[in-house]
Symmetry: D2
Amino acid sequence: MAENSEDPTTARTRMITWNDPSLTLEAARRLSGRQMLEAWMAGRLPPPPMARLLDFTLVEVGDGHVVFVGEPGEQHYNPIGSVHGGLAATLLDSAMGCAVHSQLPLGTRYATLELKINYIRAMTRTTGPVRAEASVIHLGGRIATAEGRLTGADGTLYAHGTTTCMLLRD
Amino acid sequence: MAENSEDPTTARTRMITWNDPSLTLEAARRLSGRQMLEAWMAGRLPPPPMARLLDFTLVEVGDGHVVFVGEPGEQHYNPIGSVHGGLAATLLDSAMGCAVHSQLPLGTRYATLELKINYIRAMTRTTGPVRAEASVIHLGGRIATAEGRLTGADGTLYAHGTTTCMLLRD
Amino acid sequence: MAENSEDPTTARTRMITWNDPSLTLEAARRLSGRQMLEAWMAGRLPPPPMARLLDFTLVEVGDGHVVFVGEPGEQHYNPIGSVHGGLAATLLDSAMGCAVHSQLPLGTRYATLELKINYIRAMTRTTGPVRAEASVIHLGGRIATAEGRLTGADGTLYAHGTTTCMLLRD
Amino acid sequence: MAENSEDPTTARTRMITWNDPSLTLEAARRLSGRQMLEAWMAGRLPPPPMARLLDFTLVEVGDGHVVFVGEPGEQHYNPIGSVHGGLAATLLDSAMGCAVHSQLPLGTRYATLELKINYIRAMTRTTGPVRAEASVIHLGGRIATAEGRLTGADGTLYAHGTTTCMLLRD
């Protein structure tokens, strides 16, 4: 128990940069969900701050289907020697929410009601890039559900989940 | 859609510092769950990197009960104008997992099998500090379950959840 | 593998009686949720068919809080030697849904969006009566959540759960 | 509110028959999971009592994949005018649990740790037969997860779910 949180020998630093999300949101209000996601993926809209903070990227947008790539690292560690479960939850929440969003027309928003994650295998700093792939299961008038899987480059399954979203018309 | 992710007028930065988690883990191996959490809370062990990255702090440890405090900010935003659901998931996962951990003797570890979060109200950059409070529901020989709630300073409920953990003996 | 599903030496029978649920529903349309549940508990409305089929009874109705009692028996067995998980799911779904219903005014209905059950201990034919007790966690304008626990006469926890319901105005 | 639970004009009855589950269980102890399910499907073992009580049948067994067919009826009604959510939960719990069971060798048992059901559309007495189809997502040494969907004859989705099971060696 000799470590101190300011011990220079074990301290690492990282500079995080993000953009004012209210400007992005204003631009996004003129776009359908899919257009917004495509603008983000193409760099015409900045990524949301949380994607910068946790280091994940939108790499594929289809109709009711999206893929994010994340890079688990030491900065994501929990106190028990592996990547915090919050990273998989964030990646899958992003992927499943955006899969729903990709099918929403201009003027329809969504809010996530609940999220369920199953953890299959711990990620570590040597896991390498992971892929969070999600698809809509059901898109109704008021409610949508989606499912997602988080896998490594070799197909190893790290986590999977489902979500329920409420749809809201402006 | 004029914003560019490098536009200096909207860019914000933040320096994140953390410690090599493997050193912490080594020290923690000589402690019961509760001793480890108390050492972390007292600053005798550095906080885990994810707590630094997402800005949350362990503030209370009891027998099967812990409290974390987080500070939702702009850096946690999702693309739809509020704090990413991953923050609540991470805070509740931390609190529920550590509530279980607080009851584990030296030589018993845990792994989170699943996490279920209900989102009640969106958090924003003006929400102020939030409190993730969790308690063990059941502690058995192989499996433990816990529940948690995320509330604001005025008691507003933002999210609640449950988790299932597997217990492992070294 | 000598048993045959018609083997008279091991066959047991049970007569199930229920009432046309559409008549009950019509009467219930003139009642608030709580009034309907109280009418059912007092015997002024017949119990729903599923309560007859699986043998459970509403025994307590409060504001956002209800209790059911069930009697796990051999007729509820699964193929692996214990009471089917569907019984705990049905009891907790009933209790959590009715806890929400107890707070709904005349003209507001609800639909269950999702149900999450944790199984803590298997029930058997010798478990005796079990109590499914549920409370509302959050009642909003469009969404409500509730939690429930299933316990034995001696307080043993058999299962616990949460649910999300959507509220609908006529 | 004139109905009485004994009113003969609205009362319906049904005789339920089942077999002593302990005899079945004894026979099943000499079989792998898949052999047991195939024996049940072929009528060489009686169906479990709960399948008789709620009226569902195992119709397909593969490696990590099973299908049940159920027949929602008036006897399954809840107090709010549709089939009780417990029926979908029971069908999906059966299908997902048996999908896991189908991959377990002789001497390995399982216990369901948790069940999560999303309800997409209410079933009624006119829904007709429904199909609960489930597949294993992950089969590890200690834990397995599975997913399932409940659909009508025309493919309409009524519910979907996931489960986590613990594996136990005798």
